[in-house]
């Protein structure tokens, strides 16, 4: 009797866990390539700036480095970087994908732990955990050396389900303190506060920052507070249904575009995380031929120091264009 009562909800949970987020191998493969290229560029020489920092600045939060009294030697930082690059290249090529994924994950965590021990903590955890959850997902099945050599791991839907859950929890944990901190209070406009802070304090001069700075209407700013909190919290509801989750990711992508244009903060790593839930292969197949051109143009136009910021910003804008254009394009040219 109890078993019969419990069965339907359990079956629904099982369906969500094993089927809801099951993807086609070619989409997973395309995501693996996109992830590896992005990580190779953006995590190139990760945390090497810390080598020049005074030892006094070392103050690790809880994590890999918590029990270290002093920073690791520069040799360790360079060796970790070399290992990360090797692991990411293997991932890009789809060679021993499971091992390459897990190694990338551990090395990303290790290097970020060193980086964040100097009190600058970025919000790139969604990208960092991606190879952990995707390792067994079957993202090495297509476009890979593994498949050519006959290594055929199974496609596991639960990997992407857990990754979606992590994205949702991460977003929820960003929205919750805002909700508790009074972002929905009509007497204060938090987004406006951040905008002012970036302009006056941090000297940010993003393309859309100055034009909107003088707008003081709470009817303009307060909806931004509500929208931000709403979308971030809604992730945890949307995760139940893949389609709804993708729409939520799309809304968040547009929010990221706004954040980039106003505050010059590129959440490229989040866009990469959302890309895991999108049927990427079809769209990327059309875009692959453009990639060498974009790479050459970037190398020519963007100074070396700015390549990582550019790549991250490019990813946000590309995500925004994808959200706005691809649904129409794919319907018109089906």
């Amino acid at each position: 009797m109890v078993g019969r009562l419990l069965n339907p909800p359990l079956r629904r949970i099982d369906h969500w866990l094993f089927e809801e987020y099951k993807s086609l191998p070619e989409d997973l493969g395309a995501f693996r390539i996109l992830f590896a290229i992005y990580a190779l560029v953006v995590y190139w020489q990760r945390a090497t700036w810390t080598i020049d920092m005074p030892e006094d600045f070392w103050g690790p939060p809880r994590g890999f480095t918590y029990f270290m009294d002093r920073p690791p030697s520069p040799v360790v930082v360079y060796l970790l970087n070399a290992a990360l690059t090797t692991a990411l290249v293997a991932l890009l090529a789809g060679y021993r994908t499971v091992i390459a994924s897990l190694t990338s994950f551990v090395l990303l965590i290790a290097l970020n732990s060193i980086y964040y021990s100097y009190h600058k903590i970025d919000h790139d955890i969604l990208l960092v955990i991606a190879p952990f959850w995707m390792a067994l997902s079957g993202w090495g099945l297509n476009y890979s050396i593994d498949s050519r050599q006959g290594r055929q791991p199974a496609v596991r839907g639960w990997c992407l389900s857990f990754f979606a859950l992590c994205v949702a929890i991460g977003m929820f944990s960003a929205g919750w303190p805002k909700l508790m901190g009074g972002w929905l209070d009509w007497d204060s406009q938090a987004v406006y506060g951040i905008v002012q802070n970036y302009f006056y304090v941090q000297d940010t001069r993003a393309i859309a920052l100055e034009p909107i700075l003088d707008c003081q209407s709470k009817w303009f700013w307060e909806p931004h507070d509500w929208l931000t909190v709403g979308v971030e919290l809604f992730f945890l509801v949307a995760v139940i249904n893949r389609q709804l989750f993708r729409w939520t990711c799309a809304a968040m992508t547009l929010l990221h575009v706004g954040i980039l244009l106003v505050l010059d903060i590129p959440f490229g790593s989040n866009i990469i995380a959302y890309a895991a839930f999108v049927p990427l292969a079809a769209s990327l197949r059309k875009l692959w031929p453009l990639l060498p051109g974009v790479a050459v143009l970037t190398a020519l136009v963007v100074p070396w120091q700015g390549v990582q910021h550019f790549t991250s910003s490019f990813m946000v804008l590309a995500g925004g264009v994808y959200v706005l254009v691809w649904p129409v394009y794919s319907r018109l040219f089906k």
Binding site: F57, Q189, V201
Partner: protein, 145 residues
């Protein structure tokens, strides 16, 4: 077997979240910020209980301990210079020579009639439940000397 383990993993998720919330979120990591009284709470939406407002926030670059060491024995006007320098260290933006210069550049937009910028050195904790701890006040004249 795999399915059973995956179900157990899902079952563990709430506990992992609870662990993250209680152990990591509540971790009272102090980070220093400079605040300017009376600018309205609009600048700091996340800690809206505070009567004053974060103007300069430096949690990303320096531990309180390291900052205290830098400050020890340094005359007050120079302390401000040190703070401003450190503030821009990590971001590798052009270093503002002094906080005074920075204040002069922006004061006109904040309050054209201001002749002094009051800055409070303030140890803030991530958990907004805690009362901020005042570490010192600085008055920065805005008029050119």
């Amino acid at each position: 077997m795999e399915r059973v383990l995956v179900r157990l993993l899902l079952l563990a998720a709430p506990f992992v979240c609870a662990f993250q919330y209680w152990v990591l979120t509540e971790y009272p990591e102090p980070y220093p910020i400079l605040i300017m009284p009376g600018f309205g709470r609009v600048l700091n939406g996340q800690t809206h209980d505070h009567p004053t407002v974060a103007l300069l926030r430096d949690g990303r670059t320096l531990s309180t301990h390291a900052m205290a060491e830098l400050f020890e024995g340094v005359p007050a006007p120079n302390r401000v210079r040190l703070t401003s320098t450190v503030l821009h260290w990590k971001s590798r933006q052009p270093v503002t020579p002094t906080l005074q210069d920075w204040a002069r550049r922006h004061a006109s937009r904040m309050n054209p009639n201001a002749d002094t910028l009051a800055v409070r050195w303030h140890r803030h904790t991530i958990s907004s439940k805690d009362e901020p701890e005042w570490l010192g006040d600085f008055l920065i004249p805005l008029s050119a000397e």
